[in-house]
Symmetry: C2
């Protein structure tokens, strides 16, 4: 007995992986074709609003806390004293909100190429944009690759690559040249973090290559942290950290313990995520 | 742009949760109606063979290691010296195989009501049944609820409830009366473990109620361990341990470190899984 899904469902098919994920939708709230991508927002029955870019699920109101907390807090607590933070991508502003929870952060610049994503977030995901008025936040709509190229050397503490998948507009963000430029603009002790796809699907491909590229680009240490993410392919996702003159397997545990009010991240979750399942470690080492 | 899935996909719809998961199938290998349930096995393009009971995905060759390692090893390494193990359900024999990796175990009895599940596993999931000839293994096909009722008091070290969801044939396995009978047949220091559904979907319902029922049934400690499971609802799953005269938040870390050859479980994964995400802890405490 295989169910069939009618027009009340949004389905994303992961063609290479032979799997698909669907959410029951009740309404279409937005349909915008920007110069960069096709953006849709749906109301779902159980996941709140859903943002879709070029047919790929980006986030839902219900479960985006997993991704946003895990792309922000491990990197920030790995850096000894993060003051100047840059987010490439991240137009929905959810990562920005998490970064701004760190009182020591003095300035956060978010550079997304597509202003329509931020407009859609303001309208349909208001919780994510609630910190946009923070005086420390700066929103720019520009090409992140170019921005990194032109940024002054050794000027940033934490650089967050909060991008879509390594195909389409974000392809340039997964290349060794780009990573080398990121390394250049980080200060000594700086930390880079990038979303790095599914531990089940991509440990022997995208994740392993990204880690190799990071080391080749001049970083001194790497660490991949898996976490659950129901709406992404396989329901299991990861971020990969890279350190410039620092060991990204260490972090400020006591400070992490003191940050309360989060949904997923904690010092113990961070510590746990640093230990990879054996199958993943074997694939990364092979 | 919402894709549509044709007859080359098997879809399980989680109606209450408004989500669905699909796998691309290439063949139907088995279709059996037993006295207890409807059993199907499909060949998939990327997940190996897939077993389905009453329309619900039970397991695939590709990712069952997550569930089977996590329902077996945390419980066995929590017990000080497990010799006598009983599995209720578990007809696919994957849990049995994991239990038999522990050299100290002297006898494992698996009691599944439906022999057709084991026959299907022998035919379509041969890796799971590879330890069935171990002289320590005993396979019985009988009503697990009744078996527990009739078993002698204080006769078992570890009791594993490897059941389907708490609806249909497995409903009786999620009741306080049944848990109290489980508690009775465990020796002092005994450990019970039960699959306990999705941290995202069920922390404030099934998981919280199960933990409450376990304590009400006379157990002295409980612990819920989340882990990824791509083919189950939300891609995120859990097991819950209960201890009779023992603290199930402690385990034999050194022994766990010594068990090699696994795919997901390790001492570090076990330790990490004992720290719940804050949202989950809040729901369990509320």
């Amino acid at each position: 007995m295989s169910s069939t899904l009618d027009e009340h469902w949004f389905t994303e098919t992961f063609a290479d992986e032979g799997s698909a994920f669907s959410l029951e939708i009740t309404d279409k709230l937005l349909d915008v074709t920007s110069p960069y991508q096709h953006l849709e927002v749906y109301a779902t029955r159980t996941y709140g609003n859903l943002m879709v870019l070029d047919g790929c699920v980006m986030l839902t109101e219900r479960d985006n806390f997993l991704y946003h907390e895990m792309i922000a807090h491990p990197a920030l607590f790995t850096h000894r004293d993060p003051r100047r933070v840059v987010i490439i991508g991240g137009g929905d502003c959810g990562t920005l909100r998490e970064v701004l929870r760190h009182p020591g952060v003095e300035q956060v610049t978010q550079i997304d190429i597509d202003e329509e994503v931020t407009k859609a977030a303001e309208r349909c995901f208001p919780a994510l944009t609630e910190s946009n008025d923070d005086p420390r936040a700066e929103l720019r709509f520009a090409d992140g690759v170019k921005w990194v190229e032109e940024a002054p050397e050794a000027s940033i503490d934490v650089l967050i690559i909060d991008s879509t998948d390594p195909v389409g507009p974000a392809e340039g963000l997964f290349k060794v040249d780009f990573l080398a430029r990121c390394q250049r603009i980080l200060k000594d002790g700086g930390v880079l973090v990038q979303q790095s796809e599914s531990p089940l699907y991509h440990s022997g491909s995208i994740i392993r290559e990204l880690r190799r590229d990071m080391l080749e680009a001049g970083f001194d240490s790497v660490a991949t942290l898996p976490f659950p993410q129901p709406v992404y392919p396989s329901g299991w996702w990861s971020v990969t950290l890279a350190g410039k003159g620092s060991n990204v397997s260490d972090f400020r545990e006591t400070d992490a313990d003191d940050l309360t009010g989060l949904e997923y991240y904690s010092a113990a979750i961070h510590r746990g995520a640093l230990s990879l399942p054996p199958f993943m470690q074997r694939l990364l080492d092979s």
